[in-house]
Amino acid sequence: MEQIGRERIIEVLEEVYREDVAGDPEDSFQSFLDDFREVRDPEMPIYWIAETIIGAVERLSGRQFGWYVEALKDEYNFTGEFAFICVEPKTHRCLTAMTDDLGNCSVSVILPITAIDEAVRAVQFFLSLAVEANKGGEM
């Protein structure tokens, strides 16, 4: 998979958000993120952010994965961080499972997504996992 640039990722994030998530051709993912960051309204459909990221990853990689997502909260409100678990559906390999230098294992990755640059970094991160999964064969 060739390196995908920032502009292309933003373009796909906006497409996915408008077409598959918000369903409103006038809406924009960037403005949704700005609203969330400024207002932090607990009634906002916070999972739209994660759905947009996932949709963009799957559209750009041309593949579907198994996902689990949890929007993290502090005592009162959503923090803007999301815990993601991503599984490759053919091998069932958990792509987000990691072991650190000390041998500690974790299954999920926690990513902050409150601005468009963080959203781009999240998409790039998952695309890099998809590339690694491809190298492992069975794809």
């Binding site: 198994g66 996902w67 559906p89 069932h92």
Partner: protein, 140 residues
Amino acid sequence: MTEREVMKTLQEISSEFGIEDLEQFIKSAWQSADLTDFETIAELVERAVENFLDECFLWIHVIETENCEQFVPDGWFSFVAVHPRNKMCLTFQDTGPWKDISCRVQIRTLQDAVNAVMTLTELIKSNLQKGGMDYGADRA
């Protein structure tokens, strides 16, 4: 693995947690909607599954809530298990249109907990076998 064996295992593990009457513990957790007790129930289920498969896994469990502002549990749990060595998701289910990576169970009674252990054990065992890891041989 029979229901009686699962019940016995759950009771043995719960006694290690200092729980004398597991049936009453689950009932009172449900009635008081105590999130900490629900965490304990999830851990008991995970430990029992590991006991039957004689392996340890990486777990994530989600205690679902009916009210996200006050975290009142609604009795539903989602479990995700990952094999620590090959990172294979052992709760993956490919049966529906969605690629479901978790196993969702309702636990409001001791019998529900027994059923949850049996469901998870069967699912994980099946995924271990599909992944070419016979869980019996892999232990040797």
